[in-house]
Subunit: 453 residues, 2 copies
């Protein structure tokens, strides 16, 4: 009996499909990588079902690619053609809530924004917002890629919020990791090991996370700088003074130009920092005054718009500005992170490469964390252009590694940046392989992602 | 040739000793556990020497217990009689410093206070202060136990500060883990895995850590509560409002009595919270006002002392108050952590057990992190008393696990709490064993600590 038939025997009919339209949906993620059609898609509703499914696949050595919303950006959720997709989007409940401890236990398929909508009533939220995709991204996917977002400067990335996990290993065993203590020195940090492992070590069936109190108030400001060096220095100074900032977003001079093209903002085409403060009003006012004095001392000016428009409206238009800059072009993404002092050098290097190859590029990111996204525009049907953009991307990554940085600050490795992974990690990759074999001896959990076993 | 002779061949004479007085020093840590005399103590000066030593021990299957300052509290650095002690206290330099990135690279033997003295010039510090032992504890030891301290409420524990490590595995291979990016989604979190592994996975030869800016200003306050429930609720409320507190320390009513005995403070014998704020003056004043209103709403009063003494002087006397409470008694320690809402229940349970068995006990801790230390006084030569205290300790741990907490919040497992480790971690212990074998196939790195292989 083949694996699909075996799965049909253990699952209700509405929890398995081989329909072409449904397979089409799960064949891809949000990357530009080509999709792959799996043998079947199955929906699990609880850990026991996941365990049964994994056990069957273990017996048959069938690859399993676990999927939440499919909003991954590096192919982490693209399946194998001889494998199945394990879709957890129907496991979307809050199963426990301890408001007095600022903790919640959820199923992996719960959508980020839905979770926060439910927490709002109690004045709480789960902070590491996955950028603009909070309306689709699942908490399970966020844990799997150690996702972060604009507020991670203040609140940290997803990994720092995970207290406990229930997981199913590659043999189908259900194991509980961690507990509800928020500080621990008790054995190896397996919770942290699973977070960010992109579904290659275990399937996550339950997640206990810390929460934060909703900020009493918010304040947004923005400053324009003469150059990238001054902007980077401002960020260092803010961190050195221990100032409490919720978001520190950088937009390069080119993105300012794209914003002018999109909406005729009339912005000066120089780099800018967009800042957000969370807290009680008097606290955030004190903080923002101190930040302003740092910016002014570095020769920055307040970014002000005509007609009473607020500067953060500009920031929110950044993605659209890139998307609509050249109709018919696809976006090639980069997701590097490095020590903040290297920001001017990195931005200059990115601009130099894109000029050399005549590729349109914008750089921006959560620079409070040293994260920089270099977005390039290229046409898939123009091979020279398409390859040039990918070549530039690789050179940016190589430069990042030289500067002591990482290939991926928040998107994960998936298939997209696998080829340069060993360059970042060297001999440590072999240790990762050995660890993977302990969790997944037959290499059936999302095989081929991050590195080859 | 025996292992000691072999080591003498590869090490300069001043880097190996079998002198009884020197073996005596490294036979123990700061726990009350009995010391064990090793075959020899060796001092390494760099990663290559560590590698050579480990390779020799690997060939001879000789246990290695790595030691910094020996200030561990649970026997993590007590050696084996057929093993050697690898002392890293002579590897105590800062090897790189990037003040603009708030990062530093150090050798593992550098002492916490020495590091901070050197960073002070640049207005920076390494925050996770290991309680009162900062003048002896090494950064390597802090990483190995994932140490924390009173300021970890604001700044986090040691693990959150480690960006990169150079380690020597159990076969003598030198491997670099991590890099200088402060947010990463690139493969398995091996840096985090080594942090807290108590020397059982690898010997750490170099550590790159994040730093924080020295607070511009500090403010200390203290409040007395009618009972533990109100104190715990106050902590929840402060966290829910996202208030920026550097320290939230709890002292139970019994410790207040001990303080009165020590110095005749005339304190009301009710539980108290000691709070510290870091930041620019206007920010911390706003924060402390909000904290005060939370405390007052819960019926608390300001803790005020006669003669203009500052309440935090009382807090600093807590350890002495316990030490001198009953001359000739030893301290039996506990280091549990649990969800903050269970604080009243846990304190009541601790008091009930100690009353039942007529054992003197004090509870206090970094309650902002849910950490509670229960300190008992017992005489080593009074078997009934000594055993009763250990029995109480085990029951407190068991209760903690029931409440979703951990055996060790910040001291580590070592030998002291090994017997209850599986109760906390269940089937996950087998995964830890498997991981240990990948790093240390012959089980020569601090064997017998945390769990048995």
């Amino acid at each position: 009996m083949d694996i699909v038939e075996s799965l049909r025997q253990i699952l209700p009919v509405e929890q398995i499909s081989t329909q072409p339209d449904e397979l089409e949906v799960v064949s891809q993620d949000e990357s530009t990588l080509p999709g792959v059609t799996p043998l079947a898609v199955v929906w699990a509703l609880n850990a026991d079902e996941i365990s049964k499914i994994v056990k069957l696949c273990y017996e048959n050595a069938t690859p399993i690619t676990t999927r939440g919303a499919g909003s991954a950006l590096e192919g982490s959720t693209i399946p194998l053609e001889n494998g199945i997709v394990l879709d957890l989007s129907r496991m979307n409940r809050i199963t426990n809530f301890w408001p007095e401890d600022l903790q919640v236990k959820v199923e992996p398929g719960i959508i980020y924004d839905n979770l926060n909508d439910q927490l709002k009533r109690d004045g709480l939220f789960f902070p590491p917002s996955p950028g603009g995709s909070g309306d689709v991204a699942t908490v399970g996917g966020m844990v799997s890629t150690n996702a972060s977002g604009i507020y991670s400067v203040k609140y940290g990335g997803t990994r720092e919020y995970v207290l406990a996990l229930e997981v199913v290993t590659g043999t189908g065993e259900i194991i509980r990791l961690g507990n509800r203590a928020i500080k621990r020195s008790s054995g190896y940090s397996l919770v942290e090991l699973i977070a960010g492992s992109e579904g290659t070590l275990a399937v996550i069936s339950s997640i206990t996370i810390k929460l934060a109190g909703l900020p009493e108030d918010r304040l947004q400001t923005a400053y324009k700088f003469k150059n990238e060096t001054d902007a980077a220095r401002a960020v260092s100074e803010m961190r050195r003074y221990g100032l409490d900032l919720a978001a520190i977003e950088f937009l390069d001079r080119r993105l300012m130009a794209a914003l002018n093209q999109l909406k005729n903002y009339g912005l000066e085409e120089v780099p800018a920092l967009f800042l957000e403060f969370h807290g009680p009003r008097p606290v955030l006012e004190s903080n923002s005054e101190l930040v302003e004095s740092i910016c002014f001392e570095l020769g920055a000016e307040k970014l002000e718009l005509a007609d009473g428009q607020r500067p953060w409206e500009v920031r929110h238009d950044a993605t659209d500005a890139v998307k609509h800059y050249k109709p018919g072009y696809s976006i090639i993404r980069n997701d590097v992170a490095f020590p903040i002092s290297r920001l001017p050098e990195m931005v200059a290097y990115c601009h130099e490469l894109s000029d050399q190859h005549d590729i349109t590029m914008f750089t921006f990111g959560h620079v409070g964390l040293g994260l920089l996204h270099a977005l390039m525009l290229a046409r898939q049907d123009n091979k020279t252009e398409w390859n040039a953009a990918h070549d530039i991307s690789n050179r940016i990554i190589e430069k990042t590694i030289e500067l002591g940085g990482t290939i991926s600050g928040e998107h994960g490795i998936g298939l997209g940046h696998k080829d340069l992974f060993a360059k970042e990690h060297g001999a440590a990759v072999e240790l990762m392989r050995k660890i993977k074999r302990q969790f997944d001896p037959k290499n059936i959990l999302n095989p081929g992602k991050i590195f080859d076993v």
